[in-house]
Symmetry: C5
Subunit: 167 residues, 5 copies
C-alpha cells in the first residue's frame, strides 16, 4: 500500500505501550503513520504502562479522558505459560474496553516466541506495528478502503497468505 | 430449504468481515439472501475490519450506529494455538455485544484447519456462510420457522447429522 | 419426586432451544411440567435458535421482551474441541444474562460424547431435560423445596450419587 | 481462632448452596458462626439451587432482594473435565456478581477429587466451610482482624502452610 | 531507579492483600514507597481478604468507598492446577474492576512455583512488590516517566531482559 487516502483531515491517535515489551512498537507506528498519511494532521498521545494487563483501561482512558479518535495497543506476550494467560486476559480486557466505549482498539500484540531468533522477532515487531498502524488510521477515516481487502488473507508480522484457491 | 417466507418486507442487514479471512463469506451471504428471499426488500451494510477480535465492536456499531435489523459476523480462525485463543476471545466479545444490544449476531466462523484441503475448506466457507445467512434472516423475520428444525441436528459447513435414534 | 407443590398458580415459562441439538429436549420439558404440576396454569413460549452460542441473548429476550417468569436453555455441545469451547462461551454468556436480568436461567446442556452409545445419549437428553424442568419450576415457585435436597448429590442425566459417607 | 470480636451486633447472612454437592456445607457454616460469634445477633437466609452455575445470580439476589449483609456461596466441583469448566464458569460469575454489587461473596468450593477418599473429602468440606464462615463474618464486621494474618499462608480445607522462610 | 520525581504532593494508596499468600508483599511496598518518594505525602489504606479471588471487589471498594488515588493488589497463586485457574479468574476480575472504575490497579501476583526454592521465591516476592510499588506511584503521579522505559524489556521479580537486538 502506498500513501493512502483518508477522508478526514485531522486525527488524534492514542498509543498505549508497555515497559515489558522488547521493542519500540509505538515508535514504528508513529513513523509509519507520518509516512503514509502525509496530508493528515496528526496528534499523537502516548501512554506507557508496565505490562499488557494494564493496557485495556489505559486505552479506555485514551478515548474517554484524552478524547482520542483512534487508539492502538502495543504489547508483547512472554514465552512462559503464565505469560500466555496474561495475554489472554489482556485481550479479553480489550474486548470489554471496545464494547464499553463503542470504539475500535487495534491490538498489536507480538508473542516473544513467534520469531525464529532475535532478528526475526525484531522484524515481526516492526512489520506488525507498521501494518496495523495503517489499519488503525483506515478504520478511523476510510473504512471502505479495508473492504477492498476483505477475505484476502492479509497478515501483519509476516507475509500475506492470500485467498483460498478452490480448484 | 427453498425460497422461505419471512414476515416483514424490509430488512437492513449488517455484514462484518475481516481482511484476515481467506474467503469472501459476506459475498456468499449476500448472494444467498438475494436468492432465497426474493420478495424481501434488503439493504446491506458491509464493514470490513482487520481480524476476528475487531468484529464484536463492529457488530455492536452496526446495530447502534447503523441501525441494522440483523447483523452477521464472518471470521476465520487460523491454525496456530494463538489463533484459537483469538477465536475464543472474539466469540466471548460477540456474547457481550449480543447481551449489551439485546440482539442476535449470527457468528459465521470457519477454522482454517477444518478442511481436508484447500478445496474442502473453500466449500466449508461457502456452505456455512450461505446456511447461516438464511438463519440470520429467519431469526429477524420469522423465528417460528426455525422451531420446525429444533433438535434435528442441523449443521452449517458440513452435512446435517440428524436426530438421535434411540432404538 | 411425585406431583410437586408450587406456591403460585400461574407461570409463563420460556424455552430456548437449538436446531443443532439432536433431541427435542424442550418437548420433554413441556411434557414433564404438564405431568408434575397439573394444577399450575402454564404458558409456554418456545424460541429456537441455530446453536448454543445464540441461547444467552435469546434467554435474556424471553425475560425482557416476553416477560417470562422462568427460562430454560436447552443445548447440545458437540464432540470436537471447538464444540467444547463453544459450550464454554455459551455458559459464560448465560452467566452474564442471569446477572444482567437478576433471574435464573436453568441450563440444560448435554455433551454429545456423554453417552456410551446413541441410545444412552438419548436417555441422558430425556432425563436431564425432565429433571431440570422440575428444578426450573421449583426455583420460580417454591425454592424452599430444593433446600430439602441441599448437599445430597443430586444428578440430572444420570443417577443421583448421594451424600458423602464419612465413616 | 477462638471466639472472635466483631464490631457490629447484627448480621444478616445469606447462604447459597446446591443439590449437586455431596455435603451440607451451609449447615457447618451456620453451626460455626453460632459458636464463634455468640454475641452477634444473626439472621440466616438459606437458598438452594441445582448446581454451582446457579450460585452467582442467587448470591446477587441475596444482596439485592434479601438485603443480606454478607453472602457465602457453597459448591462442589465434580471430577470430570466438564465439571472443572463448570466450576470455572461459576467462579467467573461470582467475580461479576461481586463487582456488580460492590460486595464480597465468600466462595466455598470443594473439588470432588481433592480428597484421598470419601472420609478425607468429608473433612475438607467441613474444615473449609467452617473456616470460610469465620472469614465471611470478619469481612463484614471486623476486616482489620484479617490483616493480622496477611501473608501468613492460611489455608481452608487443609492445614495452614505458613510464611516463606528465606534462610 | 533512585528517588523519583512525582508531580503531585499527596497520594492515598490502597493496598489489598490476602491471608493465603506466603509473604508480606504489602509491607515491602509500603517500605519502598516511603524510601523512593520521601517528599510525597502518603496515606496508606490496607485491606486484607482471604484469597486472590477476593481482591477485585476489594480493589474496587478501595477506589469507590475509600477514595484512594491508586490501588495495588498483592496475591500469591498456588502450585496446583486449580490454583492457576483461581489466578486467572482473579486477573479477569481485576480487568473488569479497572474498566468499571476507569483506574489502574497494579497487579502484583507471584506464583508459588516461580522460585527455585523458598529463598528464591522469597526474593521474587520482595523484588516484584518493590518494583511494582514504584510503577503504581508513577502511574498515578508522573506517567511520562514510564515512557522513558517503553519497550525496554523491564521485569519485576527477576532481572530486566532488555530490548531485542536486531543484528
Amino acid at each position: 500500500m502506498e500513501a493512502v487516502d483518508c477522508m478526514v483531515n485531522r486525527l488524534k491517535i492514542g498509543l498505549a505501550d508497555t515497559t515489558f515489551a522488547r521493542a519500540d512498537m509505538a515508535g514504528f507506528a508513529i513513523d509509519e503513520i507520518n509516512r503514509k498519511f502525509p496530508d493528515l494532521q496528526k496528534e499523537f498521545v502516548r501512554r506507557t504502562v508496565p505490562g499488557i494487563k494494564d493496557l485495556p483501561v489505559e486505552c479506555k482512558l485514551l478515548y474517554e479522558r484524552d478524547k482520542c479518535d483512534m487508539v492502538i495497543a502495543f504489547g508483547m506476550v512472554g514465552k512462559e505459560a503464565v505469560d500466555k494467560t496474561c495475554g489472554h486476559e489482556a485481550s479479553l480486557g480489550l474486548q470489554w474496553a471496545k464494547l464499553m466505549t463503542n470504539k475500535h482498539i487495534v491490538e498489536v500484540f507480538v508473542h516473544e516466541d513467534e520469531g525464529k531468533n532475535e532478528k526475526d522477532l525484531g522484524s515481526i515487531f516492526e512489520d506488525r506495528a507498521r501494518k496495523h498502524a495503517i489499519n488503525a488510521v483506515l478504520l478511523a477515516t476510510n473504512q471502505q478502503e479495508l473492504t477492498k481487502y476483505a477475505g484476502l488473507g492479509l497478515r501483519q508480522g509476516r507475509m500475506h497468505v492470500g485467498k483460498i484457491v478452490r480448484e
